[in-house]
């Protein structure tokens, strides 16, 4: 027995077991997220359930669970109930309904039922009654109606896109220009001037833009007139709904689809999720603005934290006289990594937003006051706050890298007549680069997953515009932005429609994981390439 303990085998088993346990936990988490998130886009079949008392429910079965009956005596047969996504929120008031299986009289999967994904009010489930052009009926009945709908859907989507484009791009540009002119008009006003050729000229320009706005409005009106097609769908329970075609995102008949077309739809919906904008208070549509915001915030943070962390670490390790004071500074820096992130958020609000941002506003954007420009949360302040949060990680990693560089390497450079700075720049910095990247990887992973400090420094539920667009100066660091981490919190816990939003939370989590992993992989690749050329140890 003693021999067994001394052999070290139990220790090997212990280490292996610890590793296996961690792996299982991580894999379990990833699996849970993926299973819950990725099934969301798969079009399930639509079941028509007839209940006692002549109630009919048409929808997709999403969950089945035993009915909780705490008062029932033990040994009673369990009864189950199912959760059905019935859609038609505008007609029934809720997307989801629980049905006791004991109440079910009949189930069938009728082929002609159609799912219409709408821009508002969620899905519409039902049978097509007719397709109308204005008041004229173009097709009647499920089959003819379906064909007529499909034929007209592309055109409607094209016009809808055109309308969106005019609203966003053309009218957006006019608004932007007018806002700038108004700001320029404010300046002389603040100085007590209310006339003069310059003011006249600006007013003239304002009027010219207003004219242009009128033109675009007319175009929109004309386009909207062309959107006269609508589809009439009768929902379960006999209610009818007439839906203009530009409200349709897509329509499909899940009970007639094969695996291939379902897979096609699945991919299309994933693509919409990744590239589209959110609808219906984030419970539908895509999360592209959140992806963009997350990635851009992490990039900005990296840009700020890397130089800061490297310089601080170089001073601490290369120039500062090692002693109790430097040790104290080092301990303080390490402990900074343990400060709750919300504290950094509070600091960001107090210092960056109110003090720095407020000062910038008073000095440079006084014309826009009292509307704050930089004196409110924005992507710049959020990135700076996170840079502050992650700078200890970069400092510690860089310092450790510096300590690992053999003294001989510095001496070799100095002995060749290089100055201290030349040695640092040409020999030490390249050699410490892999360590710096390690620090940056850790910092990025931390920043991408952080939510608490962002909530108070610039993240919003729905940002009207991306921080990058076509208007000068193209990069709008003062803008608020969306973030995947906050998005998860928002759809998961703040959504008015919890049932509809829950799968969205899982999908967004999966996406955030994918983004964090790919950002890390990118940095790891760079580090490995650097390691190859700056390998520290001799062969």
């Amino acid at each position: 027995m003693k021999k067994f303990w001394r052999s070290g085998d139990p220790f090997i088993w212990l280490t292996g077991g610890a590793l296996a346990l961690s792996l299982i936990m991580v894999a379990g988490l990833a699996l849970l997220v993926l299973v819950n998130g990725m099934g969301f886009f798969w079009p399930g079949e639509l079941v028509r359930i007839t209940l006692a008392a002549d109630r009919v429910v048409l929808g997709q079965v999403v969950e089945r669970e035993p009915v909780p009956r705490p008062e029932a005596p033990p040994g009673t047969a369990r009864e189950y109930r199912i959760k059905v996504k019935q859609g038609n929120r505008d007609l029934y008031g809720a997307d989801f309904v629980w049905v006791d299986e004991s109440d079910i009289v009949g189930r069938e999967t009728p082929a002609e039922v159609v799912v219409v994904e709408r821009r508002e009010w969620g899905d519409l489930h039902g049978v097509i009654e007719a397709v109308k052009e204005g008041d004229r009926v173009a097709a009647r009945g499920p089959e003819a109606g379906w064909n007529a709908l499909r034929a007209r859907l592309l055109e409607a989507a094209r016009i809808h896109r055109e309308i969106r484009r005019i609203e966003k791009k053309e009218i957006g540009a006019i608004n932007h220009a007018q806002e700038k002119i108004r700001l320029r008009l404010r300046k002389p006003e603040l100085g007590g001037v209310s006339g003069g050729p310059e003011v006249e000229r600006l007013h003239g320009e304002l009027a010219r833009w207003q004219g242009e706005y009128g033109e675009q409005e007319a175009r929109l009106k004309e386009l909207r007139l062309r959107l006269r097609t609508s589809v009439v769908v009768s929902a379960a329970g006999g209610k009818e709904k007439e839906l203009p075609l530009d409200q349709v995102v897509r329509a499909y008949r899940p009970n007639q689809m094969g695996v291939a077309s379902k897979a096609g739809l699945y991919l299309a919906r994933i693509w919409e999720f990744v590239s589209g904008e959110p609808r219906e208070s984030n419970t539908e549509g895509g999360v592209f603005p959140a992806i963009f915001g997350t990635v851009m915030m992490v990039m900005l943070m990296s840009l700020m934290v890397t130089p800061l962390g490297i310089l601080a670490a170089f001073y601490l390790r290369e120039y500062a006289k090692q002693g109790p004071f430097v040790s104290a500074v080092r301990i303080a820096v390490n402990n900074l990594a343990g400060v709750p992130s919300i504290v950094f958020g509070v600091f960001g609000v107090g210092f960056f937003i109110y003090f720095v941002g407020g000062t910038i506003d008073r000095l440079f954007f006084s014309a826009a006051l009292p509307t704050p420009t930089f004196g409110t949360g924005g992507i710049l302040w959020a990135s700076l706050t996170l840079a502050l949060l992650t700078v200890p990680v970069v400092i510690v990693a860089t310092e450790e890298g510096l300590a690992a560089i053999p003294a001989g390497m510095r001496e070799a450079s100095l002995a060749l007549g290089a100055t201290r700075f030349e040695t640092t720049w040409r020999v030490v910095l390249p050699a410490v680069m892999p360590s710096i990247l390690t620090g940056l990887i850790l910092a990025m992973a931390r920043a991408a997953g952080e939510v608490a400090p962002l909530m108070i420094t610039g993240v919003v539920k729905l940002a009207p515009a991306l921080p990058v667009d076509g208007f000068w100066p193209y990069l709008h660091l003062d803008r608020k932005f969306m973030h995947l981490g906050f998005h998860i919190y928002d759809v998961g816990f703040q959504s008015p429609n919890v049932d509809a939003a829950r799968p969205m939370g899982f999908t967004t989590t999966a996406l955030l994981l994918v983004i964090v992993v790919s950002l890390n992989l990118m940095a790891i690749r760079v580090r490995n390439r650097l390691r190859k050329s700056y390998a520290m140890s001799a062969v």
């Binding site: 070799a412 060749l416 007549g417 050699a431 001799a538 062969v539």
Partner: protein, 272 residues
């Protein structure tokens, strides 16, 4: 001149004759050095002749490496070091406050005990010094790299893989690369701190051959643990003990007829 005679008087009589015939490259006069409270060099005086190999031998901790590192002021990097006495190289006092240390180090190259190539390509290792000096033209750098690698007897082995990492070379090749790197800036003096202590006998033999080849162009000062090596390659040898230069003289004479009892004990293996 008076100083020279006074200096000469403190030296071994035979070395005095021999080294007075030579051009002195490095002149060390009453050099003492302290690391904090601990004295590492005691009143060392000697002169290193030009275009000769001078070796320091002695037991570990006797101060021979410290003495070597005084010649390019590498000891300046150590905290709490204090130096008294003068060191002149080609007549210039290198401890003069106005002296530019980087200038000095360009004239006094150094090869270390443990080979320490930069983790860069072979080419960049050799070109490092010239680039620091401001050589930018690719053609000039190419010429310098080839000349230095040829001088270090490494060219034939690496000419087709100059872009590979220096760390892919063997230990002996790395040490020769360090020599090539040191002579790429064309120093007057080459300091070698136990350059072969980490090498096998074959690699050691190559380095020793190389030193003999380089003697024509450079003044070489070598610190070695290995008395056979000192006997094989050096023209002059100094024996150091406890920070003191016990005896300094022509190598053959120091090994065959040492004047000092302590030198004799050391070279015959009675202590150390």
């Amino acid at each position: 001149m008076a100083a020279d005679i006074r200096l000469a008087r403190s030296l071994n009589a035979r070395a005095e004759v021999a080294s007075l015939l030579e051009m002195p490259m490095v002149e060390i006069e009453r050099l003492s050095l302290w690391y904090g409270e601990k004295q590492a060099l005691r009143d060392v005086s000697m002169s290193v002749p030009k275009h000769r190999i001078t070796a320091y031998i002695g037991p570990s901790g006797c101060g021979k490496t410290t003495l070597l590192r005084c010649l390019n002021r590498m000891n300046d990097l150590v905290d709490g070091v204090r130096i008294a006495g003068t060191v002149r190289i080609s007549g210039t006092d290198i401890y003069e406050p106005a002296l530019d240390v980087t200038e000095l180090r360009k004239r006094v190259g150094m090869v270390f005990q443990k080979s320490n190539p930069f983790p860069k390509p072979i080419y960049d290792n050799v070109a490092y010094g010239p680039r620091i000096l401001g050589v930018r033209s690719r053609a000039d750098l190419d010429a310098i790299v080839e000349r230095s690698l040829r001088a270090a007897a490494l060219w034939d082995e690496v000419s087709d893989r100059l872009g590979e990492s220096a760390l892919s070379l063997s230990g002996g090749q790395q040490q020769r690369l360090c020599i090539a790197r040191a002579i790429a800036v064309e120093p007057d003096v080459l300091l070698m701190d136990e350059p072969c202590s980490a090498l096998d006998p074959i690699a050691t033999a190559r380095i020793e051959e190389l030193m003999l080849d380089l003697k024509a162009g450079y003044t070489i000062v070598i610190v070695t643990h290995n008395m056979q090596q000192a006997a094989r390659v050096s023209d002059y040898t100094g024996f150091m003990l406890l920070g003191e230069l016990v005896e300094f003289g022509v190598t053959r004479e120091l090994f065959t007829t040492p004047r000092d009892k302590r030198t004799e004990d050391y070279i015959t293996g009675r202590f150390g």
